[in-house]
Amino acid sequence: APEEDLVTSLPGLGWKPNFKQYSGYLDAARSRHLHYWFVESSSNPKTDPVVLWMNGGPGCSSLHGMLTEHGPFRIQDDGKTLGPNPFAWNQVANMIYLEAPAGVGFSYSDDGNYTTDDDEVAMNNHLALKAFFTKFPEYKSHDFYISGESYGGIYVPTLASVVLDDPAINLKGFVVGNGLSDDDLNDNSIVYFAYYHGLIGESDWKFLLSYCCPGASSASVCDFAAGSRKSQQCLEKLSAVQQLVWASGLNVYNLYGECAGGALDRRFYYDKKADRFVTNQYLYPFNSMLKTDMSVMTMLKLASAKNVG
């Protein structure tokens, strides 16, 4: 293991972890440097599998997964201290948290170019993995799994598909949590989900069925996505459903959870307290039926530009 990447102390950590951890960079193509945080298993690091974890977005940090989901540390509300997570996944696996693609979190590119696509991300993540096993050759023979969530539903299988053709990595499988697997199925199923959870009523449901799949023999087989490409009435009504799910103040990530910051019926706004832009359009690639609001998209790009006030 690379001594220079060993994390010897962490501010705010008032207890001594019973595992080693490393943080540093893995080089990919085009002068891109991907930040990783590797926490060894607290059980049997020499025999437990190695698991890569990636959060989604696209463009969101895996340190979110590390520090708020299943990593060994939980940041306390003060933003200064770290508590233990008794349900950390590194109790049974050696976990790599990779911030990818470049531009996410602490990962960066020498040329400052952060445009990318699914295949390039998979290719760079594969290069990063090769760099990881060069840094940590003692883990090369371990069972290896790729895991992730959300847009990780794309990152994980595309990376697995590349790694499958690399005999140097001992890939055994992958794990996808709440992943985007298929656009049409995700778009279709949310309509059923909304109806079955009481978000839309009987009359809207009947309207949807009649305009989106007029010939369907049963309500259980309506292909709303296909219908939206044929009927303007279907598209309009589906867009309203998507608006309800994504931008009505409901917490799109947890129907029964509260929405941090409150239920604001706005698609793009500046949160002065948090000093950031908030947008339900962040995940616009998820959703083909939510009408693209060009003003929101433009605002999103402007918010990302350093030299535009």
């Binding site: 960066y108 709440n178 918010a303």
Partner: protein
């Protein structure tokens, strides 16, 4: 830029503390840490609308796959992923069953439901949203352990 309804203030404060950046060996060139990157999100080009070919390739190469969903998430809802797994026509489909975990008070509780095939298993986590390990850490760990250690659900 932040996704809606997510509070990342404490993570942002912690990870941007100079001493933390030093402890983690963060490069001077790295930007201020944020949960999601506006430039990456805005400049991202999607190439795929389905992952079916990638799953089929993995299954043909005898990979083990776990697809899990918190069942109250709406961004990537469980129904769509269950349909996706069903449509892969994986071998030897088993009946959909409940799975269990031991709650903090020692009682046995229903953690969710699962459907197993030869190499792929679809699992729901009852009452969890998009970020399953945050919402239901105890069943999430049990699920992960069962998969990694090849134990039955």
């Amino acid at each position: 830029v932040s996704p809606p309804c997510v509070n990342e203030t404490s993570a942002k404060i912690y990870l941007n503390t100079p001493a933390v950046r030093t402890a983690l060996h963060i490069a001077a060139k790295a930007l201020t840490w944020d949960v999601c990157s506006g430039p990456v999100g805005a400049g991202y080009h999607r190439l795929y609308t389905t992952m079916r070919p990638q799953y089929e390739k993995a299954l043909s190469r005898k990979m083990r796959i776990l697809v899990y969903n918190g069942d109250v998430d709406m961004a990537c809802n469980f129904l769509g992923d269950e349909w996706f797994v069903d449509q892969l026509d994986a071998k030897n489909p088993q009946q959909r069953k409940s799975w269990y975990y031991e709650a903090a008070d020692g009682t046995k509780q229903v953690a969710g439901f699962y459907k197993a095939f030869d190499q792929i298993t679809f699992v729901t986590v009852r009452g969890a949203g998009h970020m399953v390990p945050s919402d239901k850490p105890r069943p999430a760990l049990k699920m992960f352990l069962s998969f990694i250690q090849r134990q039955p659900f």
